[in-house]
């Protein structure tokens, strides 16, 4: 049996092993070194960010977490970044789930982001967990006109009448935007058909790779921002991370006496290139800043991004290697096919 025959009859378990190594080794390397691949946002990821960024602080955002642990690897990083942007911007977040395990996903992502990095946000005033409701698209169809019918209490059993941020919420029309992390049915398509289209509400969708091709036709009229699979998550994550760092440095600059518009320009510049911050503090333009403010600025510029906000970018390393392997296997498979056919083998 020559090499071509051996390759043509290769046990598929060798392919599984190669794929396991192609995914596993980059994870270990990235986990130890902490280095991730650079991400440039596509217009869709940027649009998702812009929709939430353009809203006034305090806007009401419905966050629909329609996924389960099976798709947490793809959608978890999106959910984390959605919450981070809303929390940093000061939006009010209303979490609901149309998937039974979505309730756990809400608890997991809110405890990790709000509990860990925005502990000042008050439950019931800044965010509320309304939990899971069965009924699929019927839930959406109903809350378009009557929110309290499906959500008489929050997930903790507190009456919505006793929750301050529920005041004035009678239907979906009272929300300023809808953010949906979706793994299938019911999910983003149902939010498009039953909520975003009839109400003309801005809708941001983060969906699995399987769903993404189905969602593209809705952009930009019915879906304003679309994050497709882990690549979309990584792009959006990088935009949010850069923006949060910029916002924090803007605060440091303004507390140090640097006023608009110079402070905004500097914050954006340092967010894009953090190493410039320490150089700038030695220049004459920074003379007005106190030493404490300068130290704070340099700390913010050089502080590593917390690992929780790099999940998607970390997973792009294994993607690269695994895709290279797949491309190699496809080429090899075709080469073997044509070589076999030329020899008069299987057609």
């Amino acid at each position: 049996m020559n090499l071509i025959d051996r390759m043509a009859n290769l046990d598929r378990r060798w392919i599984f092993l190669m794929m396991g190594l192609a995914v596993g080794i980059p994870i270990i390397v990235i986990g130890i070194t902490g280095k991730t691949l650079p991400e440039e946002p596509t217009p869709l990821a940027q649009a998702a960010f812009d929709v939430l960024d353009d809203l006034e602080p305090g806007s009401r955002i419905l966050m629909a977490w329609d996924f389960d642990p099976a798709s947490e690897g793809e959608l978890g990083p999106m959910a984390t970044s959605f919450i981070r942007q809303c929390a940093q911007k000061g939006h009010r977040m209303y979490f609901i789930a149309l998937w039974p395990v979505g309730a756990q996903m809400i608890r997991s992502s809110t405890s990790r982001v709000i509990g860990g990095y925005y502990p000042d946000l008050v439950y019931g005033e800044d965010w509320v967990d309304l939990g899971f409701k069965a009924g699929n698209e019927a839930v959406i169809k109903t809350i378009v006109t009557d929110f309290a019918q499906y959500f008489p209490t929050d997930a903790r059993g507190t009456s919505v009448d006793a929750i301050p941020m529920m005041e004035g919420i009678s239907s979906l029309a009272n929300f300023d935007a809808i953010v949906n992390a979706s793994a299938g049915y019911p999910g983003s398509k149902e939010w498009v058909l039953y909520a975003a289209t009839p109400l003309k509400k801005p809708l941001i969708v983060g969906c699995t790779g399987v769903q993404a091709p189905q969602m593209y036709p809705y952009v930009p009229n019915q879906v304003q921002g679309l994050l497709g699979a882990i690549k979309g998550a990584a792009e959006y994550e990088s935009v949010v991370n850069k923006w949060v760092r910029s916002e924090q440095m803007l605060d440091a600059l303004e507390s140090g006496g640097i006023t608009e518009p110079a402070s905004s320009e500097l914050a954006a510049r340092f967010a894009a290139n953090p190493s410039e911050a320490s150089t700038w503090t030695t220049e004459a333009a920074a003379a007005a800043m106190s030493p404490e403010a300068k130290t704070r600025l340099i700390e913010l510029a050089s502080a590593p991004t917390p690992g929780i906000f790099l999940e998607a970018q970390r997973r792009m390393g294994p993607q690269l290697v695994a895709h290279l392997l797949m491309i190699g296997l496809i080429i090899a498979g075709n080469a073997i096919f044509f070589a076999t056919r030329r020899r008069g083998g299987s057609q």
Partner: protein
């Protein structure tokens, strides 16, 4: 068992033995640590300040409402009475292993420092000054021993000392010498000689903090291993590997894991359906008083809504599928479900999919993109127009391919051929997205195994890097 199977079994066996041995030595791995505390709540009457004049909201009798609040909150201080209902239980909060490791290092540093010599002067000073001098000296020693790996703390429980009769102002004169523990005893012996205190004092170390107190029993470590959560983590890892084992070949481990997933999912769906749907949305409407009093205290009390008997009956009829006779009754409910779902979807699809998509396609082929200053961006306009033209060609070509009333020959055949190309590109993109999604899921499981279970990597900085790497050796 043939030689190949025996070899494989041996490799797996050795791997498992090494894994278990490593898990139970040193810092181990795959452990979940928690911090235990006390949660205490009290039910209070809180005035409703924003009730409109002349309007009493349901469940808000006499301008007040009942609510449970944290026993240490401002509301509890202001509104709780002696007879107010109270509830308390042990709270368990997961903490990262790093917190436990740092507490352990700090404990060891404090104990080592307490055994070193202390040479503080204790003549003609009061007890407060002597203890503060002793505390700062011990803290300095402990910090030196910890070498920056942890932040030990030393504190004096003055509340307990005062209860035992010690006061800060007691003038003492003790002989310095010996280690920190002996010096502390000397300080208190001197204080007893001048005062009326007689309680035993002690220095207790727990959770990275050393405490001088008289009530050693009250100082219990709050941070520790959670066996239940650790077992859960190991089960998750074992089930993950069991599912992966199918890639080698079908086996009992995989079957077991698969069956557990199916069983747990079914049970979970049932419980969730009961508590999130039937109880609040059906029973809560038919018997709101009962539900509020016994099942969901937070639900607003209201009059029964008897219209909900209709869905209750329909629901009961659906269960007739399980009955030996009268199964046809479930068809009424099914007919209702099919009819309403079809109607709901028809309207939504016509508006959201059909009309909106036609509307989005019928757009000028030339797309003009304008800059912020009002000038036309030629580059962006060109590519936007290319995109729009491609979209229109794709739609028309694909529609032609699916138009079977005309034979696909000549010009129609060529256009249909273009449609096939568009479809193939779409399927390719869909396949690419699917592969990307599956790899992301595999990466997430590997991250769980390498990070949470094996502690090989530490991207979330849950453990110090030194601890993570030491797991390899």
């Amino acid at each position: 068992m043939n030689r190949q199977q025996l070899t494989l079994l041996s490799i797996v066996g050795i791997f498992v033995i090494l894994l278990v041995a490593r898990a139970f030595t040193g810092n181990g791995f795959g452990r979940i640590y928690v911090e235990r505390g006390d949660a205490s709540f009290v039910k209070v009457e809180v005035p409703v300040l924003d009730t409109p004049d002349g309007e009493e909201a349901e469940g808000k009798a006499d301008g007040v409402r009942w609510t449970w609040v944290d026993a240490s909150s401002d509301e509890a201080v202001d509104f709780a009475k002696a007879e107010s209902p109270r509830a308390a239980w042990e709270s368990v909060t997961p903490v990262s292993p790093r917190v436990y490791f740092e507490a352990t290092i700090a404990n060891e540093a404090l104990q080592a420092a307490a055994e070193t010599a202390y040479a503080g002067a204790m003549t003609g000073v009061d007890l407060g000054t002597a203890l503060e001098t002793w505390r700062l000296a011990l803290l300095e020693k402990a910090n030196a021993v910890a070498a920056g790996k942890a932040q030990p703390a030393v504190e004096v429980n003055w509340a307990a000392l005062r209860t035992a009769g010690f006061t800060r102002k007691t003038s003492i004169s003790a002989k310095a010498g010996g280690d920190f523990t002996a010096s502390l005893d000397a300080i208190f012996d001197a204080a007893r000689a001048t005062g009326e205190s007689d309680a035993e004092t002690t220095f207790v170390v727990a959770d990275g903090r050393g405490t001088v107190t008289t009530t050693a029993d009250d100082v219990v470590p709050a941070i520790g291993l959670s066996w239940s959560r650790t077992i859960g983590l190991w089960l998750a890892a074992i089930f993950t590997l069991a599912i992966f084992s199918f890639l080698y070949k079908d086996n009992p481990l995989y079957k077991t894991a698969e069956s557990v997933v199916v069983g747990v999912s079914a049970a979970y769906w049932m419980v969730i359906g009961l508590w999130d749907m039937i109880v609040p949305n059906l029973l809560g409407q038919l018997a709101p008083g009962f539900v509020q009093g016994n099942l969901i205290p937070g639900l607003a009390a209201s009059d029964p809504n008897w219209a909900y008997l209709v869905p209750a009956i329909f629901g009961a009829l659906l269960l007739m599928r399980l009955a030996p006779k009268g199964q046809y009754l479930s068809l009424w409910t099914l007919a209702f479900i099919v009819g309403t779902t079809a109607a709901l979807r028809m309207v939504a699809y016509i508006e959201g999919d059909f009309l909106s998509q036609i509307n989005a396609t019928i757009a000028p082929l030339y797309q003009e993109v304008v800059n912020a200053d009002g000038t036309v961006n030629g580059y962006s306009s060109f590519w936007a127009s290319v995109r729009q033209i491609t979209l229109v060609i794709g739609v028309l070509a694909c529609l032609t391919y699916f138009f079977f009333s005309v034979e696909h020959k000549g010009a129609v055949g060529k256009v249909a051929r273009v449609g096939i190309w568009f479809l193939m590109i779409t399927f390719g993109a869909a396949f690419g997205f699917t592969v990307m999604g599956r790899i992301a899921l595999l990466a997430a499981r590997f991250e769980f195994l390498f990070d949470d279970w094996l502690w090989l990597i530490d991207p979330m900085n849950q453990r110090s890097a030194a601890v993570a790497v030491s797991c390899l050796f």
